[in-house]
């Protein structure tokens, strides 16, 4: 089973990289771009067939390592 994890900064946490991306896009002729927030995308292969169990384990992985819950949110998506 494959899982996709997105890790993003919580609202209100300054995101200097997102800000820089936004500025660059504005400068490149995309004035419609407002606030930009960037994050991480992590793909994992799991030796697990039970979706509920996989989800629970992934939740633990996110809390323990993949995300820093002081400043980051995460979302988990199971594929196939």
């Amino acid at each position: 089973m494959k899982a996709r994890v997105h890790v993003t900064l919580k609202n209100g946490v300054l995101d200097p990289q997102g800000k820089a991306i936004g500025h660059s896009l504005n400068r490149l002729g995309f004035p419609e771009v407002g606030d930009v927030r960037q994050g991480k995308y992590i793909e994992l292969e799991l030796a697990e067939t039970d979706a509920a169990k996989a989800k629970a384990r992934l939740d633990e992985m996110c809390r323990k390592l993949l995300a820093n819950t002081v400043i980051e949110n995460y979302s988990i998506e199971l594929v196939g």
């Binding site: 946490v13 300054l14 200097p16 820089a20 390592l65 002081v70």
Partner: protein
């Protein structure tokens, strides 16, 4: 004073801090490999600077999960002093030993430069050789030293006097000019609640000899020696 310096894959300032401690105490440090769940009895634990695990995922995140950190947390809870410098600060924060997190520098660039720090308190085993309000000059060298904590945490650590150092101008003014990384309220170093764990981004270990960066960092190590003897 018996010191243990932790070594993770990618640590790279462990030699600097061991060299500084040897210069000041005349004693070599015990270098502890990250995979060791236990290590000899020690008076001071140092988590040194570097790029543990390449700073991949988040600085300090993977090192914070290593076996040695479980032991460090146990000993810190028993009151063994922990000095966490730069990447060590990031690791200690990730491990929950210290409040807050270290984020990417505001200008997104690595910065290596001398900075001025205002010592917030002399009431700790790390800062007893300094005066409160004293301005010292030590270098920083990091890409992710931008201290952040939520409003509630900030209020708590300020109220309890857990801020150890703030970036400042050479004359001691705490404002944007002396802040190299965008840290909230210019925070450069924080204590845990009992002030037995200190995390700081600047490198006092690189300011202990006149010809090599000045001597303003020396008092930090001398203070620890005083407090522990």
């Amino acid at each position: 004073m018996k010191t243990s310096v932790l070594v993770f894959p990618g640590s790279n300032r462990e030699g600097d801090v061991a060299q500084a401690i040897e210069l000041i105490t005349g004693r070599k440090s015990n270098m502890v490999w990250h995979g060791d769940g236990d290590f000899e009895k020690t008076d001071l634990i140092v988590i040194p600077g570097g790029f543990s695990y390449g700073d991949y995922l988040r600085c300090g995140a993977m090192a914070a999960q290593s076996p040695v950190m479980t032991e460090v947390k146990k000993r810190a809870a028993q009151g063994v002093p922990v000095l966490a410098i730069c990447n060590g600060f990031q690791i200690a924060a990730e491990a929950g030993l210290l409040p807050g997190v270290l984020m990417r520098n505001e200008n997104l660039k690595f910065v290596c430069a001398d900075v001025h720090l205002k010592v917030e308190t002399s009431q700790s085993l790390f800062t007893n050789r300094y005066q409160a309000g004293q301005v010292i000059k030590v270098p920083v060298a990091h890409a992710e030293g931008n201290y952040f904590a939520d409003t509630e945490t900030l209020k708590r650590i300020e109220d309890r006097g857990q801020v150890a150092f703030r970036y400042c101008a050479p004359d001691g003014t705490v404002d944007g000019t002396g802040n190299p990384n965008g840290s909230i309220r210019n925070i450069a170093g924080v204590f845990n609640e009992t002030k037995t764990v200190l995390g700081l981004m600047p490198h006092p270990e690189n300011a202990v000899e006149p010809m090599f960066g000045g001597t303003d960092g020396k008092a930090l190590f001398e203070g620890i020696v005083d407090a522990l003897s």
